[in-house]
Amino acid sequence: MYVSVRLAEEKCNGCRMCVFTCPDPNVFNFYKDKKKISVNASRCKGCGLCVVACPKEALSVSAG
């Protein structure tokens, strides 16, 4: 079982709070044109810092 962050893309408004609070590099990618982020789950350690920081509740940490 691997715990990592999941993104509900429709809720993301591209504020990038998650990008600035993640202790691990290259977990989040930001697309300027779409104003959305994407998640590289294999690099995530599941600490949940981004979940707390996200103002739109677009992120959650779960297994599977």
Binding site: V19, F20, P25, G48, L49
Partner: protein, 283 residues
Amino acid sequence: MSTRIITPVAEFADLLPQDYRELVANGPFFARRGLKDLGTFKEIIEEHPHCAGCGVALGVRLVAASLPAPADTIIIGTPGCSFFGLAQTAVNYSNTAFGNQNAVASGLKRMLSLRYPDRHKDVVVLVGDGGIADIGLDMTLHSWFRREKIVTIMVDNEVYGNTGGQESGMTKEGQVLNMAPGGKKFPKIPVFEIAKVSGCAYAAKVTVASPRMIEKAVNRAVLVARQVGPTYLQIYTPCPTNLKFSPDQTVRVAAEAEKGYYAVEEFITDEAARCLQQLTTES
């Protein structure tokens, strides 16, 4: 480091790891990319073995993204939590015996000034509180007394994190830790105040809850160190593993500290302020 060195020849490009190719194609070496671009480029720091929610790792990552010229920067580390992250960075890195970082940095800075007289080579010491405030305090202070033009950055997690949680000089008074069950008996060492009276041209105290302040302070520290003298930056990077809070609360803990005992502070000498003013006017 010349950017030519990191550019692979076409014949061998396919053999290199994907991460390396991404770094060359979309890293911060060829185009100027700062903290505000984070998320849109390949970062120079790679996967590291820090604990989940590590404040030090966040501090190291934000500093690495804020460096004004990563291709011309050498980072000096010393054993401790900061070292785990730094060993994986795609910038020149030198590890030292515990506490010797500022002495090694002084030598490297002098050597680089001789070797590249026409080019700025930034020497950045990026170590933990144990390396600066305890074991390396003498080397650190003497490098400031000698006015060595190096940047000293402390990622202050207030504990010896990777050896099980011993108190460090920067631990808060009364803090109970795994290996300090009676609580610490004396206050934090005032390294920021010492820096102000020891020859530093610029000093700043920030936390990981303010990434933009970190970028501003790192930029100022590097630019002042190029021309004026030593600079010091102290970043509060709380440790969830040893300070016993949930790993998703690191930034909240830092933000609360920022409202209290770890308020953002900046010190700048008149000479350094004039230097920054001049650089702003020129750009």
